[in-house]
């Protein structure tokens, strides 16, 4: 029976030779990731109520990122509860203040192709870039996993997004995702699997592939997947298995694009689905540029911003929160960080920061921001009156230089 990558991954976790879309299966979980917000502070009281222990502490990873840096009594209590719980529960894989969970997880070698993983965060779809079946769940369902080591799943159909050719200079995975969300909507993924294929995807570096799978959350897929290949192996610095769909496995849909046709995209307030090509918004004044989040501040994202900002100054407030400490150190070593700072960027901690509006810094009512983050729902980053436009690191950097929404291709001479 011809199987998609999704079916193969689910079948392995369910202990089956094959599975059929639509059937309900129980999967064994290879890895469960939690952060400080949805993790220990929520699961600990529930585990105590059940008088239950973690089924296998070696399969649990805890990463603090949402309430860092701590700024008041509540945030201190939340982060402290993560630090205390990993000790009590015997969780060895604890990454404290090292960056955003979706970036730190593969960076520290926790993900491998073929794995079945859950994360206590909707952007856990990011792990699918490593040909691992990884998706987001809530805190109560995480307790179910922590107690049983298992989770139910409706075997997904697969929607293929195939990008031929090569993305044009000044465009990126972010533009591809905003384009898909505008075309198919926030529920275009139908809570099935969205698999990204084609020459343009094969030639993308790992962190750009992560952006595709990350924003599969906004496209409404249960997760995004990309077959493993030499690029995956190089990133993980270890021998991996190749996991890929059979070429003629049945699909729910197969959409084909020429990557070169994707122009820089911008999503207007208050939805990622309000996306149109950058030209439609050209000239709109913005007063804050934000380069942050698992979606938009990985090393690759910082490099894109630096290509635009080299030798230039931002006319507006430019905030940069590198997605992980290691990515920030790498950006520093290769001169990327200096370019950003010379352009006037203010460096923020390696954490979720303003993206989810959990921290001390929030957008106020008068802010018109352009941001590399994934979501611009009303009130997400602070005041419900704040306006947030979403775009790629190229477009955010170019708009910072112009003080208005700007096509980055004009600045890439």
């Amino acid at each position: 029976m011809k199987q998609t990558l999704a079916q193969k991954l689910v079948a392995r976790a369910a202990g089956r030779s094959s599975v059929t879309p639509g059937e309900i299966v129980t999967c064994k979980v290879d890895l469960a990731m939690m952060h400080d917000s949805g993790g220990p502070r929520r699961v600990k009281p529930m585990l105590e109520r059940l008088r239950a222990k973690v089924w296998d502490p070696s399969k649990v990873v805890v990463i603090t990122d949402h309430y860092l840096p701590e700024y008041d009594e509540e945030s201190r209590r939340i982060v402290r509860s993560a630090r205390d719980w990993v000790r009590e529960a015997g969780i060895a894989s604890f990454h404290d203040a090292q960056g955003i969970c979706h970036v730190v997880l593969p960076e520290r070698g926790h993900l491998r192709p073929g794995m079945f993983a859950v994360g206590g965060d909707s952007h856990s779809t990011t792990g699918g870039a490593f040909a691992a079946y990884m998706f987001g769940i809530g805190a109560t369902e995480m307790v179910g996993v922590l107690v049983t080591g298992e989770i139910w799943l409706k075997v997904p159909e697969t929607i293929v997004m195939e990008f031929a050719g090569k993305f044009a200079p000044g465009t990126s995975a972010k533009d591809a995702m905003l384009h898909l969300i505008s075309r198919f909507g926030l529920d275009g993924g139908q809570y099935q699997v969205v698999e990204y294929r084609g020459d343009a995807i094969r030639s993308l570096p790992m962190q750009e592939r992560m952006t595709l799978c990350n924003m599969t959350a906004e496209l409404g897929g249960q997760t995004g997947l990309i077959a493993s290949d030499a690029v995956t192996e190089q990133f993980l610095k270890t021998n991996i298995d190749i996991w890929e769909s059979d070429s003629d496995a049945p699909l729910l849909a197969h959409h084909r694009f020429d990557a070169a046709d994707i122009a820089p995209q911008v999503a207007a307030p208050h939805s990622p689905a309000n996306t149109r090509p950058v030209d439609d918004f050209k000239g709109i004044e913005v007063n804050l540029a934000y380069i942050g989040a698992c979606t938009g501040a990985k090393l690759e994202d910082l490099r894109m911003a630096a290509r635009i900002l080299e030798g230039k100054r931002s006319r507006i407030r430019l905030l940069v929160a590198p997605a992980s400490l290691r990515d920030q150190q790498a950006a520093d070593a290769e001169g990327v960080l200096k370019i950003l700072l010379d352009a006037g960027a203010e460096l923020l901690p390696n954490a979720c920061g303003m993206c989810a509006g959990y921290g001390e810094r929030q957008l106020d009512a008068g802010t018109v921001a352009i941001s590399t983050t994934a979501r611009n729902f009303q009130g997400r980053m602070g005041s419900p009156e704040a306006q947030v436009f979403l775009a790629s690191p190229y477009t955010v950097a170019a708009s910072a230089v112009a003080g208005r929404i700007c096509d980055p291709r004009a600045l890439l001479a």
């Binding site: 239950a52 945030s75 769940i137 109560t140 307790v143 107690v147 909507g185 009303q378």
Partner: protein, 158 residues
Amino acid sequence: MRAWVLGDNVDTDVLAPGRYMKLPVEAIAVHCLESLRPDFPREVRSGDFVVAGRNFGTGSSREQAPAALKHLGVAAVIAESFAGLFYRNALNLGLPALVCAAAREIRDGERLAIDFGDATISTPRGSLRFEPIPPHLLAMVRDGGLLPHLEKRLKGNA
């Protein structure tokens, strides 16, 4: 009880805004949906229904989104479709999430009653069908959510 009718793509940031996420659910609930319907958190009554179009609960995995609705006494969310993560979270918390293709026919303020046995919603203007809770989740929903369901299962094993 009455229906509170909303549109498509109601997101988790309006259900449980990030700036209140550090607080307990009762403090989040007083801001639930306030940017869409300022009267909702003040005037919703126990037994009321939230009715919506497509993709209700899109966005975050934060369970406080369905938990806030449950805390306010919402008896069920009725929608044309749900974001998958919200759907799992709602049922795990024992908040019925009912898929009803004709949800748009329900008008704001109408009085509704739900018959789970028949899978129907009665409105002043007739009766609408909803999709029954999937069989593999029925036992959990009957137990009141995943936690009581696990509690029962663990006791059974002991």
